[in-house]
């Protein structure tokens, strides 16, 4: 009898220990997700709380299907993610490799490198909005003073330049995240394979391509996964720099959802949009996670 009780206790122990974590997950993640899924099937307006009780099924999703502005923002967001994350990766990798070469002042540089991460995205937005201002901004003034152009370039208005300017701000703010993570990878890398390769006559490119880069791949995919999840912080930058304009040229899912949900107070419709964008986030995360697993298997010698 006592033995049976002990066995049952042992079997229950993991469940009991996990209960606090499950409870937190339930209230912080699962219930809000379920609630927002429900609201996405209502005409819920923030300023008319009674609309929460009206169930309209998939009407918001059907409306989204025909909403050209939403799909334009959807594809623009994918493009933004692809360009910004890859640019941050390349620059972060370059910075990490350069800092790894240093024998003196490395710690100081590592600290300086983290400065952009300390700014709130709103401040970064204001800073770059004035840098790229066509009339009194520093970029145009510098280009005109140097005689490189005689016109005011509309950085935040032109169809391509506006998105480019936002990406520059985003890359400035977040490249250091890649650099820090990749530098950690480089510092953890064993020296023996590199030295053996050099003894065998490999040049620097061959060492980087066949030894350093494969070793860094898990770090790269971890950084990519983290960034693809928190890149929505760029909302503040876009909101301040262009507000999604002009004429929707820089509209991303986040600015569109915030405008529909809060300014227009149509939270039901905004939640339907948010659910579709959550699927996008999950797709990116799954993609990078599978790449991460593949890279780790490769490093473990399984392939």
């Amino acid at each position: 009898m006592l033995r049976a009780l002990r066995v049952r206790q042992t079997a229950l122990a993991p469940l009991i220990l996990l209960t606090p974590a499950f409870t937190v997950m339930l209230f912080v993640v699962a219930l809000p997700l379920a609630f927002s899924l429900y609201t996405s099937m209502t005409p819920y307006r923030l300023i008319r709380p009674e609309t929460l009780d009206i169930f309209i099924g998939t009407r918001n999703y059907v409306r989204l299907w025909d909403n050209a502005a939403f799909w334009a923002a959807f594809w623009r967001t994918i493009l933004f993610l692809a360009i910004a994350l890859n640019a941050e990766l390349l620059l972060g990798l370059g910075i990490a490799l350069l800092i790894n070469k240093l024998t003196w002042g490395q710690r100081t540089l590592r600290t300086i490198m983290m400065f952009p991460m300390m700014f709130s995205p709103i401040l970064v937005g204001f800073q770059f909005k004035f840098i790229f201002n066509d009339n009194i901004g520093i970029v145009n003034n510098a280009l005109q003073s140097l005689g490189l152009t005689d016109r005011a370039i509309p950085w935040l208005v032109d169809a391509q330049l506006a998105m480019f300017s936002i990406i520059v701000a985003e890359v400035w703010m977040s490249t250091s995240i890649f650099a820090i993570l990749l530098l950690a990878g480089l510092l953890a890398m064993p020296r023996d394979p590199v030295e053996a390769a050099k003894v065998d006559g490999c040049n620097s490119w061959q060492v980087f391509r066949h030894i350093t880069l494969p070793f860094l791949m898990p770090f790269i995919f971890i950084a990519m996964t983290i960034r693809s999840l928190d890149v929505a912080r760029a909302y503040d930058i876009v909101h301040v720099m262009t507000g999604g304009g002009p004429a929707g040229r820089t509209e991303l899912l986040w600015t569109l959802i915030a405008r529909v949900g809060y300014d227009n107070a149509r939270m039901g419709e905004a939640n339907a949009m948010a659910y579709v964008s959550t699927l996008l986030s999950i797709a990116f995360t799954v993609f990078f996670f599978r790449k991460l697993m593949a890279a780790r298997r490769y490093m473990g010698g399984a392939e």
Binding site: L46, N135, A152, T242, G243, G245, P246, Y262, N264, M267
Partner: protein, 441 residues
């Protein structure tokens, strides 16, 4: 505490209130031990008034707990969240005439709480703009309306004046019509070094600018039965004014992305000839320390459109008292204090437009005594404008939502993605859906 403010202020003569001299003598009541919970708009131009709150606390024995202090757009989101969550457990909130209709009946009718003698001291038109559905849901703190600032020296150069007259057939003088502004802006423009004029180009800011131009051109936003009517001939004319100047390079190329700071700082940099703007910038524009055109700024009343109507898009920053407030007398006392003569003088000295008739005179008197002729001229111009030209957007809950359909299309016309007619037709279709969804049609 049970006595209403109405009773408390009965003893104060109306004459003294109008003169404003006896403001300090008003009995704001006794609310000893009570904590008044408030949500206020924050930002550099709004903060100096809040330094006065301590005086009200001292007079009444109450304590003010500021729950929130952020810009109006963030505050708007927070109030909407409070409505949704049923957490309107505070008493006084900053409000704005353009935003107030969205909030339904969460704010109480101040006609029932504030004595008529106090209300009589306000500019009647501003109180009218603060009324939604017959209820005075807000007490105006200061107002906004725009007039035209210009660089004075541009009009004093005889050779330039002669060249202008030869080209356009009439003498060069500060413009009286928007047609003249277009002519002069194109004449003065020398991009990228100098621009004829500029305008805010995004969010509700450009909707408001288009709306006032529409009215000046004789158009209207909606018909009497709420069908969008801004895609009319007058609407196309109004939008074309912006598009023509943009296409001609007479305004900075970045204007579709400009907000108030960009136009204000741009004009102060000395690179723009004519600038329609709020009075709050006036002292900054004419300051020799802050501005490249300090001492060289003129101001004239906002010009007229083809219909002979002056542009006058206006709004007021206000305070409201919630219906759910547990001590409306204390809340009414607080908002009366924050909008009384002396408190409005605190803001008027900084160039913000008062909402009490007597404060206009007091502020101009102070500027005159200090020998600041420019600020006297600014206040005279803006006083006329507030009294005769000011009008608000339609005071309906859907204004911001309609604006969000309109402004991206106005931008699309400016940057050449659509013609003005296409842009307005598309915005009108979307606005019609909003009005139908809201049950207007």
């Amino acid at each position: 505490m049970g006595r209403s403010l109405k009773a408390l202020t009965l003893g104060v003569s109306a004459t003294a209130l109008i003169a404003g001299a006896a403001a300090a003598e008003i009995d704001f009541g006794n609310f000893d031990g009570y904590t008044l919970r408030v949500k206020l708009i924050g930002g550099a131009q709004y903060e100096p008034l809040y330094a006065e709150i301590g005086a009200w606390e001292e007079m009444t024995g109450a304590t003010v707990q500021i729950l929130s202090r952020q810009n109006h757009f963030e505050l708007d989101r927070e109030i909407k969240q409070d409505i949704a969550a049923g957490t309107l457990n505070w008493c006084v909130g900053s409000n704005h005439t353009s935003f107030a209709p969205q909030y339904g009946n969460i704010y109480t009718d101040l006609n029932d709480l504030i004595p008529q003698e106090v209300l009589d001291a306000f500019v009647p038109l501003v109180l009218e703009h603060s009324t939604v559905g017959g209820r005075l849901v807000q007490l105006p703190r200061h107002s906004d309306v725009s007039n035209l600032f210009y660089i004075r020296s541009l009009y004093e150069d005889e050779a330039r004046a002669a060249a202008f007259e030869a080209e356009y057939g009439y003498p060069l003088a500060p413009p009286e019509t928007w047609e003249q502004v277009r002519d002069q802006a194109m004449f003065f423009a020398d991009p990228p070094n100098f621009f004829g004029t500029q305008f805010v180009g995004r969010d509700e800011a450009i909707t408001g600018r288009f709306y006032e131009m529409l009215v000046a051109e004789g158009g209207q936003l909606f018909t009497d039965d709420w069908e969008p009517a801004f895609n009319s001939e007058a609407g196309v004319r109004a939008l074309s004014w912006f598009v023509d100047l943009y296409e001609a390079g007479a305004v900075p190329a970045g204007v579709p992305n400009y907000l108030w700071d960009d136009t204000g700082l741009g004009f102060a940099s000395g690179s723009v000839a004519l600038n329609l703007d709020w009075a709050g910038w006036a002292a900054f524009f004419n300051s020799e320390e802050d501005s490249a055109i300090g001492g060289n700024v003129g101001v004239t009343r906002a010009p007229m459109g083809a219909a002979g109507v002056r542009t006058g898009w206006s709004g007021s920053h206000t305070f409201s008292v919630t219906e759910t407030c547990d001590n409306k007398e204390a809340a009414a006392s607080f908002v009366t204090f924050l909008t009384d003569h002396d408190r409005q003088m605190v803001e008027a000295r900084r160039g913000l437009l008062p909402t009490r008739t007597a404060v206009w005179e007091s502020a101009m008197g102070e500027f005159r005594d200090a020998g600041d002729d420019f600020m006297v001229e600014v206040f005279e111009t803006f006083q006329t404008s507030m009294a005769e030209d000011a009008f608000t957007p339609p005071l309906i809950a859907e204004w911001i939502e309609v604006s969000n359909e309109l402004w991206p299309r106005l931008q699309a016309a400016m940057v050449g993605d659509m013609t003005p007619q296409q842009a307005l037709d598309e915005a009108a279709r979307e606005a019609l859906v909003i009005m139908e969804d809201a049950g207007y049609r």
